[in-house]
Amino acid sequence: MRYLIYCFRETGANFLDYRGLSAVALVTSALSMLCVGLFFVIYVNIHEVVQALENEIIMDIYLDEGLAENQILILERVILLNPEVGNLEFVSHRDAIEAYLERYQEEEALVASLGEQALPASFMVSLAPTHRTVAGVTSLAKKIEGIKGVSEIQYGQEWIQAFGWGTRLLMLIGSIVGATLALASIAIVANTIRLTLFNRKHDIDILRLLGATEAFIRGPFLVEGVALGALGAGVSLILLKIIFESFIYRVGDGLMQGHAVAFLSPAALGALVGCGACLGFVGAILSLRPTRKAWV
């Protein structure tokens, strides 16, 4: 207990005595955590949209012309055998035309001139809840494609793939930039602590004479590293919130078409602070690592 007080007091003294250095370390770790946080916010929101869209995925299975009624019934059974299929609805020629005319009333004459079978009959399939993913819909499409009597399948392949690539690219850039900045902040925290360590050589010698163990001596510097990292992450969260409120929130609302733009969940915020603390801890460990002859 008394040792904890000692650790925090020493850390406080180190912060005060090396304000400039500590500030630089703090700002770098804040920037790196801010970057990670930004990508995280964007990713979380895009993920949200993708999930919403995945829930709404509908697959249209168009049928060949001139199938007999019992052939259609068999086809329906075959399709229903797939576990991915949640609900299946048959859309006859007539239903298709009615639905079309409902949307484009002015083209009534054109449709009438093409006759009863102007639009193909189809099955409208919605996915079973457990398969409402891009993977689910693609695997179902593969299985149905080859069935005799099916002429074409549509489920918005293009944008689903584009979204997939987009999120993956974003994650990649985010990880690279985040990792680079994280390494930088580890290095800067390590250097800050190393410098304090050398400037405290006199005190550390006294501690050894008083019988302090190496662990005792290192404690305050570990606390310092963790505090730098966690404080940096805290600052980054404040910055993130400001950026979010003044920018992402406004722009995002338009882009996301009705899906509410969300900030990070409390768990994610906690995780970011935890990440910051870990960065600081690693930095401190690195600066304290050399064996006792060499470390101070």
Binding site: R2, Y3, Y6, R9, I206, L209, G211, E214
Partner: protein, 223 residues
């Protein structure tokens, strides 16, 4: 209890201690006297594992500390108090923080620690200075803080290197009272001084050191 068997120490080619053999019983109070450069501080540093001897063996409380590993040193030092010739205070810290540091390192329970701190602050008349930074104290006051830090954790062995070098006569008398009291309660005290007047206060066990050799030993403790 402290035992030294034929201990020698060189710095480079210079022989600083030469074949010193010494036995100090538990609760004994031993005064090492000798002129400047006689090797008194070196002798205490050997007992404190601050320096390593070239030859001979050193036992402290039945533990051989002659060639001790770095990792075993903290435990040994936590049971010793050392009054440094040059005080070795943390100048940025207050008097109280300097003293409490010894308790924190030794892991003394909080309540007992408080009592000890109050006791030594009173004994060394530092109460009114306890929140001052150590750097703002006079030499005599700094020396008293150093003494307070050495005795606050009730060490089994107290090594005092010129503990009254900067003190006035009243403070000197008080410090010797304090040391005698500790010795009476079982602490083994070793005191080094170049001052003959100080040495004359310890007629029971006195060792004279000259150019690294023991020239005289007077021990009437057991009698």
């Amino acid at each position: 209890m402290i035992k030294l068997f034929h201990v020698s120490k060189h710095y480079g080619t210079k022989s600083v201690l030469n074949d010193v053999t010494l036995l100090i019983e538990k609760g004994d109070m031993c005064c090492i006297v000798g002129p400047n450069g006689a090797g008194k501080s070196t002798l205490l540093k050997l007992m404190f594992c601050q320096e390593q001897s070239d030859r001979g063996q050193i036992m402290i409380n039945n533990q051989n500390v002659t060639h001790m590993s770095q990792s075993a040193m903290p435990a040994v030092r936590q049971r010793m108090g050392f009054i440094f010739e040059d005080f070795r205070l943390m100048l940025r810290k207050t008097v109280l923080q300097n003293i409490v540091l010894a308790l924190t390192i030794a892991g003394t329970p909080h309540k007992q620690g408080r009592q000890n701190v109050d006791r030594v602050l009173e004994a060394l008349r530092l109460e009114h200075k306890k929140h001052d930074a150590a750097s703002d104290l006079s030499a005599g006051e700094q020396q008293r803080v150093c003494i307070a830090r050495a005795v606050v954790s009730d060490p089994l062995v107290l090594l005092a290197d010129e503990p009254t070098g900067s003190l006035d006569s009243t403070a000197t008398a008080e410090v010797f009272d304090l040391l005698r009291g500790m010795s009476a309660r079982g602490t083994t005290v070793v005191l080094a001084t170049q001052n003959q007047d100080v040495a004359d206060r310890f007629p029971q066990h006195r060792v004279t050191l000259n150019q690294g050799r023991m020239t005289e030993q007077r021990n009437t403790c057991g009698i």
